[in-house]
Symmetry: C2
Subunit: 413 residues, 2 copies
């Protein structure tokens, strides 16, 4: 029988009514003939309650105990979901991570999935189980202790199950009805994409579109798991609903640009007149890395002879720490620069599209559109399927709207 | 190293402050040189929340899913307790039932403990673990699914661990500071016993003193586990605190009577003029048993030739069902009686004492004391270490006080 993985996030199982609503969708798929694996998160708010208790209990807590406590949230949902399905006449049972078992590394709190043996679930499916409800976000380490997977762990669990059980698809039910060409709060005409490639989704996810965690998309791409993002609050679960995230080859005709992403609170920092010598980049970014600064864009300009300007971006709230690290490195003689200029009020705007690979002129079109609106570009970086620019923060919404308009994304699909 | 089991009930771990308070006691014992096994209940209110969700989800729920959901409560406490101990510098870790593993039957919701292999905990104690915090009330069935032990399961878990690990003692921390000669709400002069035998405790537990569950006392008696009941809200944990429940031989001199117990809401039912023939008791109590009636005392009086009166007691709220069952059996010809008289307003009062075995005259002394107060005795039953009587409910408190006074229990210890 074909298999399907369905994943419901915290808001989709926030209370018994929503669990019932989610269970109805599971039942529909089971009745279509799928053997279904459902991955559930904790009821929203539950995890925060548990984490709050752990935080109050100890400052430098033992991550193994953190995992033992926090994983309870998903276990509760899994049991309640199984009961709800049984009440609807569906043969369901719950599985905690260690029961499957979902084997992970022992990096408690941020474990990585190592293996999902399929024999236990296979056996129960063989005995007539229609639905396995699996507690997401958790597994078991080699030492027999419970692990949790860290941020985005439930999405990742879902994709890993879809890969291990060769599921036809992995449906991620969430509180939005798909992937949009941009944030509808900024551009009212933003349109829902019916399909998007893994590569584009990765760029969009890491650029600030928060629907799917980067890690789960990477895993889906590696194992060719077809993902679908759709709303748990709408009735339609037919293939017309949501957005498919899939291999590029499965998308008949690619749009040149598929989305405009943004990241609001960025800062631009420039080291003015740095002595330009081999190893200088390492000398600069070493201390920043040690200070935990998330450096994003990096641009180096030739200035006067033997010296260079080095510009990079990072989140606004890390500027003070970055300045401290760089000035410290200057004081200790590791690096030498004349000035450090920080601009804390910039934003990053990016256009993403797999079609860029075969279309020249996207960059020119982008820069012209911004220029027409009087938006000054401060930094540019490009990859094969993405162009990002830094602009003054006050122009961010304007830039997003201009680009969405320029690439006619209101008609994308 | 000597081992100690410490059990904390729901009110003793109701919030983080109380968990900290309990952890301090555990630390004290660990510093005395004990390897400590701590058994914890769910934070009070948690289990009710979980059970409430299950009840709302489905009417005839799958007990396996019930167990998976409800056991989460104890897991949370175990993790938080381990973290709290670590914060205090104690080498502690949490254990869920399946990790120990505590092996049970597969009677979900009411499983019985089958085996507690000691090697996992032994190994960790060998590596320096000072305290194992075990989630109470739960285990794992042969099918690899989580089980719960049913009513009183946490006390039973504690005693079973004490037996398996040959602990020096099993301390049950609760919200009262020991076993009293009677309910202090009825008799202000009730005194705390320093020691009591298993047999007496069993009589008191099943007679309505709610401190220890019958099942855990039975288990302690079978394996000669010394139990101690003491308050988690008082600082003293020295051997002067609480009440020891132990083998009769360990109590130097037994009081003739050690306690007065009562059960308020009892009913007395009499079948008048039953045809007296072999098998008549079975014919009467068969239908009652099938109807789920908890018959307690049974008395048979000879009345006129060939006929007898049969009197029994049961909880007041089961009278209607009992009447229905008996009248049904009469209608179908299984039994034959002239009348059925129910008195729904009686209470049971009992005196318990292992010293009764060697002292005659306790019954006489009891009946005279009640007579002096004008309390009419309606039914009497006796066992080796207990005498119970049914009296009108309005005389219950009076009877308890009179007996407590008569046997000078205010001076018991």
């Amino acid at each position: 029988m074909p298999r399907l993985v369905m994943k419901f996030g915290g808001t989709s199982v926030a209370d018994l009514e929503r669990i019932t609503n989610a269970a109805k969708k599971v039942k529909q798929e089971a009745e279509q003939g799928f053997e279904v694996i459902v991955i559930v998160s904790a009821m929203s708010g539950k995890t925060n309650e548990l984490v709050g208790w752990v935080d109050q209990t100890s400052t430098f807590y033992d991550a193994r105990e953190y995992d033992a406590v926090v994983s309870s949230g998903e276990n509760i949902t899994a049991g309640l979901m199984a009961l709800t399905l049984q009440e609807m006449g569906v043969m369901a049972r719950s599985w905690q991570g260690w029961q499957v078992p979902l084997k992970t590394t022992s990096a408690h709190g941020a474990a990585r999935i190592e293996e999902i043996p399929t024999h236990n679930l296979d056996e129960k499916f063989g005995e007539g189980m229609q639905v396995a409800v699996v507690a997401g976000f958790q597994g078991i380490g080699a030492d027999g202790r419970i692990t949790t997977l860290g941020r985005g762990g439930s999405d990742t669990t879902a994709v890993a199950f879809a890969a291990a059980f060769e599921a036809e698809r992995c449906d991620i039910y969430t509180d939005v009805d798909g992937i949009y060409t941009t944030d509808p709060r900024i551009v009212a005409e933003a349109s829902k994409l019916s399909k998007i490639s893994y590569e584009e989704m990765l760029e969009l996810a890491s650029l600030g579109a928060k629907v799917l965690q980067t890690r789960s998309v990477e895993l889906a791409m590696r194992y060719h798991v077809t993902l679908r993002v759709l709303s748990s609050f709408e009735d339609d679960i037919s293939m017309a609903a949501g957005t498919l995230v899939c291999d590029e080859e499965e998308i008949m005709e690619n749009n040149v640009v598929n989305g405009v992403a943004y990241s609001r609170d960025e800062a631009k920092m420039t080291l003015v007149s740095v002595a330009d010598r081999p190893g200088i980049a390492a000398a600069i970014f070493g201390p920043l890395s040690e200070a935990g600064i998330n450096v994003d864009m990096i641009v180096q300009n030739i200035s006067e002879e033997g010296r260079t300007d080095m510009t990079f971006s990072c989140p606004t709230d890390q500027v003070a720490r970055a300045e401290k690290a760089l000035n410290g490195a200057k004081d200790s003689g590791e690096i030498n620069f004349h000035g450090l200029v920080s601009d804390k009020y910039v934003s990053k705007v990016s256009v993403v599209g797999i079609g860029m690979r075969s279309h020249v002129g996207v960059a020119k079109q982008m820069f012209e559109a911004l220029s027409r609106e009087g938006v000054n570009i401060k930094v540019i970086t490009t990859s094969e399927i993405k162009i990002s620019v830094l602009v003054d923060r006050k122009y961010m919404e304007l830039a997003v709207r201009a680009l969405h308009d320029e690439f006619e994304l209101e008609h994308a699909a």
